[in-house]
């Protein structure tokens, strides 16, 4: 859908309550739409599932970050205390692992936390200075009190007129075209 350098990103419907949005999202899935997204001023339980998004890699990334941090922490201390800078203090064992627990623990938490945040941002593709949805003026209310459902033009079933009509049929207050200016 390309005309005069303006690309049609999709059609967006505005809803008044989270319940209406949730119902509309479910109907859109039932109607066969797959490339959909929803925008809400606060997280809504079940909405991600309703638009067909279930699995997120954030916990896995966090686990890997924690493991990496912990192994780095212990490995660093073992290497320093037992290999590269050994100090014989009254014949005590060089690998005094109980004394290495606090730093290992702290670095586990540090690695996991950084990976949780960076992983979440990266999967969300943030920072992203521009996105077509911001071209819709009413969309500013997505961070206050309105709930939006977007059906993207990439969707196989997308048809500007019909999709707009569909959104109206599921009680959208407004339906806007989302244009992506290039």
């Amino acid at each position: 859908m390309r005309e005069h350098g303006v690309h049609m990103h999709g059609v967006m419907g505005e809803f008044e309550t989270p319940e209406q949005l949730l119902a509309a999202a479910r109907k859109a899935r039932e109607a066969g739409y797959r490339r959909i997204d929803a925008y809400t001023p606060f997280p809504i339980e079940g909405l991600a599932q309703a638009i067909g998004f279930r699995w997120t890699a954030v916990p896995l990334i966090t686990l890997l970050g924690g493991l990496g941090g912990g192994l780095t922490g212990f490995g660093l201390q073992y290497w320093v205390a037992a290999i590269t800078y050994p100090q014989n203090i009254g014949g005590r064992p060089l690998n005094s692992w109980p004394a290495f627990i606090p730093v290992t623990f702290e670095l586990t938490v540090l690695g996991a936390s950084i990976c949780a945040v960076v992983g979440m941002l990266a999967l969300n593709k943030l920072p992203q200075p521009y996105h077509p949805v911001f071209s819709v003026e009413r969309f500013a209310r997505a961070s206050t009190d309105r709930f939006f459902l977007l059906i993207e033009s990439r969707d196989a079933k997308f048809n500007l007129a019909e999709t707009a009509k569909f959104l109206q049929s599921v009680s959208a207050l407004h339906v806007d075209e989302v244009k992506d200016e290039e």
Binding site: D37, E106, V117
Partner: protein, 464 residues
């Protein structure tokens, strides 16, 4: 005829008391909180407060500058009292930070709805308190420009940190705590920064909040990952916060100095940290809700709950004091017995009695509902408890160090002007940061308040 009033203290009334005053909508909570940042003019009170605290920060910079020129000899520390104010203040500040993480992480995991309107500024308080705390060990090294020696890096001298030392654990614990608190705070802020961006009135506001929001667009996919990350961070911050003051207590407990070498230290340090932290949250919340008219969001329920947490942790701290005494005599160790007696009769006994008065006796008033609901009294009590917690660290550090094993190693400690000016300077820094924060970022988590509005309206429908 007297008008029948509902009983003030009936359990029904208490259960009904809202965490958010009724009648609020998504838009009204957003407007009210965002307006403090975006459109409210700078008041005389803010300007006066900022000016005062800014001048205190200048005193801090001056004191640190003089320290860099002359060295730690400008303080009252000398052998045997090597620690003095610097460590007392470090432990005090880092303890204050703990309540922020407790509110934002532990109460989140426990699904306590009342945390919502206080978590944001409690987390900010954590960050600023950790910043103030971090200054002290850094300048206490005497050569703060060489502090990087504490980090493990491949130096040309071929030396490495001693990882068996609690002081190095401290470096890792405090820097991890600072980093994770910042991440947690920023993740929580992200949707609110987007809210401010969408409502910004000037070009500068748009640019700053737009850049900070990083293009957050409230997508359901984003929220899904966001919630996952937030929950994980809460789960990670919970053991972290307990570990931080545990490690701080190891600084003392691992040493063999009488009065420090006890196993009660980690739990009682953590309880004390939460105790002083909640006191500081109250010290900040009470003027904040009044100055910006946020009584609808930070309700009496919040103040009441925080007072109860203070009472509970205060009792744990009292138990810690009792066990310290009991174990000193029960162990029969003559140095421990002597130290316990020195606390009661030694040259610093008045500090100990003041500590008991501030930390154990005063908070017993919180058993009474009338006291917990008296905002002015609660504010005064929060100041008293913070003083008490500072005295606790003074008693621990100074009495033990002045009364070591050998009478020949005994000494006295008295802080100098520069000790006081540095301490007061960090208080100025802390309050100045709070002043800036309140006008630069939303002091209450807006997105979470909208969620609370949805939750409240939902539960109301359920009851009808």
């Amino acid at each position: 005829m007297s008008v029948t009033k509902p009983p003030v203290d009936s359990p029904e009334i208490r259960r009904l008391e809202p965490v958010l005053e009724p009648g609020h909508t998504y838009a009204s909570v957003t407007d009210k909180i965002a307006a403090v940042v975006l459109s409210r003019p700078l008041g005389l009170g803010w300007l006066a407060g900022f000016t005062l605290t800014f001048s205190l920060v200048m005193i801090l910079f001056g004191s640190i500058g003089w320290l860099v020129v002359k060295g730690v000899g400008i303080w009252g520390i000398n052998i045997p009292i090597g620690w003095g104010f610097a460590i007392v203040n470090f432990v005090w500040w880092i303890g204050i930070g703990h309540a922020g993480t407790l509110i934002s992480a532990i109460l989140f995991l426990l699904n306590q709805k009342w945390r919502t309107s206080i978590n944001r500024f409690a987390e900010a308080m954590t960050l600023f308190a950790v910043a103030c705390a971090g200054i002290f060990p850094l300048i206490h090294t005497g050569r703060p420009w060489m502090a990087y020696y504490m980090m493990p890096y491949p130096s040309t001298m071929g030396i490495w940190p001693q990882f068996r030392s609690p002081l190095i654990w401290d470096v890792f614990a405090v820097s991890t705590y600072g980093t994770v608190s910042l991440l947690f705070w920023f993740v929580g802020l992200l949707p609110d920064l987007a809210t401010l961006r969408d409502r910004a009135k000037t070009r500068w506001q748009q640019l700053i909040y737009g850049a900070l929001a990083m293009g957050w667009r409230n997508s359901a996919r984003h929220w899904h990952r966001y919630q996952s990350a937030y929950l994980l961070l809460a789960g990670l911050a919970t053991p972290l916060v307990l570990s931080v003051h545990t490690v701080v207590s190891f600084d003392f407990a691992v040493a063999i100095v009488p009065g420090w070498h006890t196993t009660i230290f980690p739990p009682y340090f953590v309880a004390g940290a939460i105790y002083s932290g909640f006191a500081m949250v109250l010290t900040l919340a009470i003027p904040l809700r009044k100055a910006y008219g946020l009584e609808d969001f930070i309700t009496m329920r919040h103040l009441d709950n925080m007072a109860k947490v203070m009472l509970a942790t205060g009792l744990i701290v009292a138990y810690g004091y009792f066990v310290e005494f009991f174990m000193a005599f029960y162990s029969g160790n003559k140095f421990d017995v002597f130290l316990a007696q020195q606390r009661l009769h030694g040259p610093y006994a008045h500090f100990y009695y003041a500590l008991i008065l501030c930390n154990i006796l005063t908070p017993q008033l919180l058993w009474f509902e009338k006291v917990r609901r008296n905002v002015a009294l609660l504010f005064v009590m929060s100041l008293i408890i913070n003083t008490g917690m500072w005295l606790e660290r003074f008693v621990i550090v100074v009495i033990s160090l002045t009364r070591d094993f050998m009478p020949s190693a005994w000494g006295r400690y008295s802080p100098t002007f520069w000790d006081y000016s540095t301490f007061i300077g960090t208080i100025g820094l802390f309050v100045m940061m709070i002043f800036l924060f309140v006008r630069g970022l939303p002091a209450i988590a807006i997105a979470e308040m909208r969620e609370l509005v949805a939750h409240e309206s939902h539960s109301k429908q359920g009851h009808e």
